[in-house]
């Protein structure tokens, strides 16, 4: 079964819960700690994962469905392109990648391994 929880009687994916975690700061400590220890090799690996798996949907500009969706969601209150964000805590990135959201299907471990996901999350995380 897909990972689901009930929020107010409405089934939602874990990714949505991750947004709540981000908003309430529950993930902040663990997330920023992960980002702080990321070394250059990890960040480079994370960038490579981003280029391979995320860029086609989440790069800046038109013709990128992920960017289009986040533009509509945030209406300018946050950057729509993922690499321009400064608030993506690792736990949030990890939750979205593993549970998906809307038309973004989750990514399996044969596509993005746990190690690659950690590197991606570090790459997209706020940096000290």
């Amino acid at each position: 079964m897909r990972l689901r929880v009930l929020v107010g009687g409405v089934p939602v994916t874990l990714a949505v819960v991750a947004v709540s975690m981000m908003a309430s700061g529950l993930a902040a400590q663990q997330g920023t700690a992960g980002a702080q220890i990321a070394d250059r090799a990890t960040l480079e690996r994370g960038e490579a994962v981003y280029d391979q798996w995320c860029a086609a949907c989440h790069d800046p500009g038109p013709r990128h469905p992920g960017t289009q969706a986040l533009e509509a969601l945030y209406e300018g209150s946050k950057p729509a392109a993922l690499e321009e964000r400064r608030d993506l805590l690792p736990a949030v990135t990890e939750a979205f990648v593993r549970t998906g959201v809307s038309v973004m299907a989750p990514f399996r471990k044969t596509e993005i391994s746990d190690e690659e996901l950690a590197a991606l999350a570090a790459y997209l995380a706020p940096r000290p």
């Binding site: 992920g66 986040l70 299907a105």
Partner: protein, 535 residues
Amino acid sequence: MAVPPGVSEADFRQALARFARVVGDAWVFTSDEDIALYSDAYTPLWSEDEEKTASAALAPDSAEQVQELVRIANEYRIPLYPVSTGRNLGYGGAAPVLSGSVVLDLKRMNRILEVSERNAYALVEPGVSYFDLYRYVQERGLKLWIDCPDPGWGSVIGNALDHGVGYTMNPYRDHFDAHCGMEVVLGSGELVRTGMGALPGSATWQHFKYGYGPYLDGMFSQSNFGIVTKMGIWLMPEPEAYIDGTVQVFGHDDIIPLVDHMNYVMNTGLQNAGTNLQSPLRFAVTRDPDLRQALASDDPADTQRLNAFARANDTPFYTNIFKFYGPEDVVRAQWEHTKRRLSSIPGARFQEGAFYRFPLTEEQKRGVRDPQDLGIPTLETFSIGARSNFAPATRGHLGFSPVIPMSGEAVIESQRVFQRVLQQFETDVALLVFPQSYHPRTLVILCMFYVMPDVAHNQAVRSTFRRLVEVAAEHGWGEYRTHTAFMDDCARAYAFNDNALLRLHERIKDAVDPNGVLSAGRYGIWPRHLRQGGV
């Protein structure tokens, strides 16, 4: 723990331990979290009891490992469900047809084994995506094009086996037609190479399709008779230039000569690419319920009202983009000749379109209107159903896609017939896209459904879809490919002589996979022990 149907928990644990010895513990997935990754993200069965789920997943790294896993599955009668990249979204994704199957995730088998620039082909494993093959060609500066479907992350092998299609020239745009030679693990675990691959040390496995004796490759497409572990795919030599142009016609019946001309230019090789047939008028009347109703009518008075609207608003009833690939002087001459032919349709107008010389710069590539027309893979198609400034987020999409003859009369009839079905259901769950040619001599209708996190909505999708399958069959039209939720429905429609073809499929299934361990139920083919008295 989740256990495959008909298998005891003790046997399943033993089998998993044996599987792990083949692929390593890291590549056996059994936790709930990991198994959830093998759900169908675009399922129309969302959160219902029938939602398709796996019991475990295995990720082999070689054909030899696949053979070992299949042999073990035979011992324990474990149902396996191979997926290549698992990204066949809208057609079932990585989820099995038979819930409780163990998914065989072939994504790690992602080697590009050979690319020949001189003979224009590649030999790949199932985990190779269109993005992977495109990058490989680009990084080496090879003068070759791939032909890709809308989403670039799909498997070159998986898409061809599912009869996927693209947008450049024949034969490349029909991906199964463009394949040449396979390596297949049968249901018994035996390894077979088809075509010239059966000749040890063959020098022409990816050059000559037929080999010697019966041509069996079709058996392994849209089926469950084997696991394809290698396949050749023909690539297109980079052309010198590309040009396209649009024709506009303004009368309801102008579709008949328009499609006849399309047939001629396509079947003579004058224009050897797919179509981009549209009906601007259909879009224009979307918000007018009265005229929208007229689209489903065969009353001549309604047709006249639509024609009057087209004239009054200077809105073409139909348009088509003609695409040409080749030397610059040749493609310009082909377009000029096409225009001369189409000028016989009264009132036809022409618009010059894009022109490119190759290779393109990266900046040029970013500005291309339809990158797939030039073999450039993207994920742009996922803007369908993504949140936008004019529509809420959906949870995915799927399509009803029957094949109709390539004639204007069939276009008119099919649009009326399907429009009536959709109106009958009084629902906006579906969007009728204008038919396109993905293969010579036929057009494919696409009726697009959004799936939502809403059971009632998805049930309406399913009942509408099933009615469309029935109505299409009544008119002699059948699906070319379908989502796993509808595989039995579509198979039943191919019912000539008491379903003789499906019964033949079942006999082949029993012969090459006697224990029925591979992809039970795929394309309506069930192994003997899961068939209930035949069709």
